[in-house]
């Protein structure tokens, strides 16, 4: 089983430095692209490979790049989204800390494909080790001639900057990220115009996730057929999956796209801890719908998880066990979303704190039967199409599915006027 993205990451968790990266074929794809390929050919190859974005939405990367107008003068930008603040998500950290040059090489090739002049890594504040490694990798890449003017003697030049954020989940939303890079509050922008046409400082801009960009050199080196062959399903490649919660071996693994939830949980995460039973999981981070034990054979690819009523999201699963209160679990999630709402549009600004309050009262035994209907209504009012960005609809996904799958728990809180799980207080 091939693990292109992670196979060279040292076991001890240290970063693969430039010489080591070069020794395992690093920067050969960049040489190949600059020497043998037109920018449009690189884009076409990524499109043919059907690489789908690993940041949550799963949009086809090559298609996104193709929206960049190629005949306009002036700067163009490429940004690696390394904000990774979705609770339950920790996959990009592995790539950032372990193989920073793989990301840089992917970024340089992607920048070549769209003829970008400047590139940025937008890195979250908490990733101190990643910041150190990225800073070093960027400096080494400049010294080696992979960045700067006339890269490897070609006509292509690129400047690269590391930007560390100051903590806000919204910075990961691509248009809010642009505002933050411009020194402003991280509120989202209206689309259209799309960033590909008018992004950072009004110039054409591509924002891609770290895992997405880490693929580019491999696709250039090995081709689209190879990329597709790595997967069990129609969505090509491998995926970095993760599991957290009360399992025996929480962690992250690079596995063929389309592995089942059961295999992930039982073989890789080592099953549930002794004394705990699996009740459900958010398959792809905090803003995805619960799946339950009825879904264990669901294939963890974009279409498979969608058909089961959820989203692959970031592919990092959070497990709910039978000692953890589902109402408390969802309350924790809604607290996060209410805190991190940018406050820009009314349904989200008002609706999320209201949702949180209702869940708080349920947990504390003062909930009423009408509350469940009120929560249901919120899931519709804050759902897709009613808010300015995807934060609020994302916040409603775990709630709506919890109301569906764990309804009896909600009702029990109201009936007994207390949390039936309180004696399990961790």
């Amino acid at each position: 089983m091939e693990r292109p993205l992670t196979q060279h990451i040292p076991e001890n968790g240290a970063a693969l430095h430039l010489r080591e990266y070069e020794a395992v074929g690093g920067y050969t794809a960049l040489r190949k692209a600059l020497r043998d390929m037109e920018p449009a050919q690189v884009g076409a190859l990524v499109k043919d490979a059907n690489l789908k974005g690993r940041g949550g939405a799963g949009f086809a990367t090559g298609v996104k790049w193709s929206f960049v107008p190629m005949n306009v003068p002036g700067p163009k930008y490429l940004i690696a989204n390394a904000d990774e603040m979705e609770p339950g998500t920790f996959k990009d950290r592995w790539l950032l800390e372990g193989n920073p040059h793989q990301l840089l090489e992917g970024m340089i090739i992607a920048a070549y494909a769209i003829q970008a002049t400047d590139a940025f890594v937008f890195l979250r504040w908490a990733y101190k080790d990643a910041a150190r490694e990225m800073r070093r990798a960027i400096a080494d890449a400049y010294t080696a001639g992979y960045l700067g003017k006339n890269i490897l003697g070609s006509a292509f030049s690129l400047e690269m900057q590391l930007h560390t954020g100051v903590g806000r989940y919204m910075c990961g939303e691509e248009t809010a990220l642009l505002n933050s890079l411009e020194g402003k509050r991280a509120t989202p922008r209206a689309k259209p115009p799309f960033p590909q046409v008018s992004g950072l400082f009004g110039k054409p801009t591509i924002v891609n996730n770290v895992e997405t960009l880490s693929w580019i050199s491999h696709i250039v080196n090995n081709g689209e057929a190879w990329f597709k062959s790595l997967s069990y399903t129609a969505d090509g490649g491998t995926k970095i999956y993760g599991v957290s919660g009360r399992v025996n071996k929480p962690g992250a693994w690079e596995l063929p796209m389309g592995i089942t939830m059961r295999e992930l949980l039982e073989e890789h995460a080592g099953g549930m801890r002794n004394g705990y039973r699996f009740r459900g999981a958010l398959p792809g981070g905090a803003s995805t719908d619960f799946l339950t034990d009825a879904h264990l054979d669901v294939k963890m690819d974009f279409a498979g998880v969608a058909a089961a009523g959820s989203r692959l999201g970031t592919g990092t699963m959070v497990v709910l066990d039978d000692h953890t209160c589902p109402v408390g679990f969802v309350h924790n999630l809604e607290h996060f979303f209410a805190q991190e709402s940018c406050g820009f549009c009314t349904p989200c600004r008002e609706g999320l704190p209201w949702t949180e309050k209702i869940l708080w009262s349920l947990e504390n035994g003062t909930g009423e039967p009408a509350d469940l209907e009120l929560l249901e209504r919120h899931t519709k009012l804050l759902g897709p199409g009613n808010t300015f960005c995807a934060l609020a609809p994302g916040a409603m996904e775990p709630l709506q599915s919890a109301l569906k799958y764990f309804r009896e728990d909600f009702e029990q809180h109201i009936k007994e006027k207390k949390c039936p799980y309180a004696h399990h207080q961790h």
Binding site: E84, M85, E86, P87, G88, T89, F90, D92, R93, R124, W125, A126, Y127, K128, Q161, T164, G165, V166, G167, R168, Y169, S180, L181, E182, G183, K184, R185, A186, F201, G242, V243, S244, G245, R246, P250, G251, A252, L282, A286, T316, V318, V319, L320, D321, T324, G328, F329, N332, L333, H335, F336, Q339, E340, C342, Q425, H426
Partner: protein, 154 residues
Amino acid sequence: MLSAIEIEKITHELQQVPVKKAACIEALKIVQQERRWVSDESVADIAAMLEMSTAEVDSVATFYNLIFRQPVGRHVILLCDSISCYVMGYTVLRQRLHEILLIGYGQTTADERFTLLPNACLGTCDHAPALMIDDDLYRDIQPADLEQILEKYH
């Protein structure tokens, strides 16, 4: 007044950006690095340097979780309160921290040693529960470990 170092660092940032405003977050970070927090006076100083209104700089400063608009202690404890840490027992850690430090969230100990803040997912959910003190990440924490961890910070 901004110090000579702050002015030098902010001037350097200004050279990296096409419009002055774009250096706003970096300027706030620079001041905070020097003084641990960003006072009203500093907000006004940054505004003057970047040719922005104080209200505009303040609106940026208050938007971000990790720009501190109030004094903080010598060490800032960021306790992850997100979902994997919730499942793995962060509430017990919070309780223990309150008991040991005798402060709640957002407060600073009387000796100005620690400020305690909640923080969203630290991206190390497979090693939950987790917390950060200054630049140091602690993972898989047991409540009994806390006192020993805190001892390292004076």
